[in-house]
Amino acid sequence: MKKTPSTLSTLENAGLSAEDQLLFSNARPRPYEPYPIKAIEDFANWARANSLWILAFGTGCCSIELRPLMTARFDASRFGVAGRPTPRQSSVFIIGGYVSVKTLKRIVRSYEQMQGPKFIIALGSCPANGGMYFDSYNTINQFDLYLPVDLYVTGCMPRPEALLGAILELQDDIKAGKCDGANRYIEHFDEYKANQKKVIKDWNMPDYNW
């Protein structure tokens, strides 16, 4: 049984005007609780692992590698991978390379709108430690301060083979029930949110984008 360690029962939504606060939900996200029967949870995980739908949101230059992944040569649809145009329909967020502060805001907004269970693959060296943009004034250096990462793929940039390998590995992890990034995010919600607000200075959206 997982619990949300929080001081407030609702979110403040301080970034919104008083008028807008009435329009947005201020409820806290709840963690996912697995089925009590393990066999059913395992079956659900097997199903999730074999229908990974990727959000088509290219955040940086590594997302160039997502295009050959979907076409005939590498053909990721063999593994049940498909691209989706909206976060509401997708379960995998591939962070394609460097993340600027401006993009981070959109990433947070998209990630929170995704329906659970959801997973993040961080592609390339930039989300891991800044990569070649480690001293840039506008790109973040450690992506996992802001959102939970389930799998890293290193390289600058990784080839589609590496990305396919990552997808297979993610499938194995999901089947083993080890991908709990979304729950981690909710359990440590206040820390993640504080980190996000430290770099995103013009916070004009709800604290959690339902």
Binding site: V101, K102, K105, A128, N129, G130, F134, D135, S136, Y137, N138, T139, I140, N141, Q142, L145, K198, V199, I200, K201, D202
Partner: protein, 181 residues
């Protein structure tokens, strides 16, 4: 034809530092006061009807920003770069958004990246690339980007940077401790 034009510009606008860069670029320098008038004249009378771009260079040693207005003439296929020096502190330049509507996008960017003010330019104070920026404009050369990044975004432990030359010496000559001789 170009030399006639340049002679006239020297006479009427006091342009200096004319540099021909073959095949089709000529640059010249003009004072801030005559800048807008010169560009207007080039657009209306001399056929330089297209604004390629507005760029800026930070000459911190001389205490100036150099604005570069690159104009193009479709008939003679000539490019004309108009250089205008403005002071670095309280940098300000006449807006040319009345000449080309697209100029205000450039001016918005210059305001954000260098802190140059263009009075009267539309939507100048709106964020362009940087949202909620609260430090010095980042393209100024006295802005320390590495320091800013370390303070704002932190660094992950264990990251190493290798100088390729030294690293490859150790890789190629491991027995001699990287000594190639």
């Amino acid at each position: 034809m170009m030399s006639e034009l340049l002679d006239r510009l020297v006479r009427d606008f006091g342009v200096t530092d004319i540099t021909e860069r073959p095949p089709a670029i000529t640059t010249l320098k003009v004072s801030k006061e005559n800048g807008e008038r010169l560009i207007r004249e080039l657009r209306d009378r001399e056929g330089f009807t297209h604004l390629n771009f507005i760029a800026c260079t930070d000459w911190i040693e001389d205490g100036i920003f150099r604005l570069i207005y690159m104009l193009h003439n479709y008939d003679s296929k000539q490019n004309l770069g108009v250089h205008i020096d403005i002071k670095r502190d309280h940098a300000e330049m006449t807006s040319i958004h009345t000449l080309w509507a697209q100029a205000w996008t450039y001016q918005r960017e210059l305001r954000e990246m260098y802190g140059i003010h263009f009075p009267g330019s539309p939507r100048l104070e709106e964020d362009f690339c940087l949202e909620g920026w609260d430090a010095m404009p980042p393209m100024r050369r006295d802005f320390d980007t590495a320091k800013y990044s370390a303070e704002r975004f932190g660094h992950r432990e264990g990251r190493v940077s290798l100088v390729p030359r030294d690293h490859m010496k150790v890789q190629l000559y491991p027995n001699r401790g990287g000594d190639e001789s």
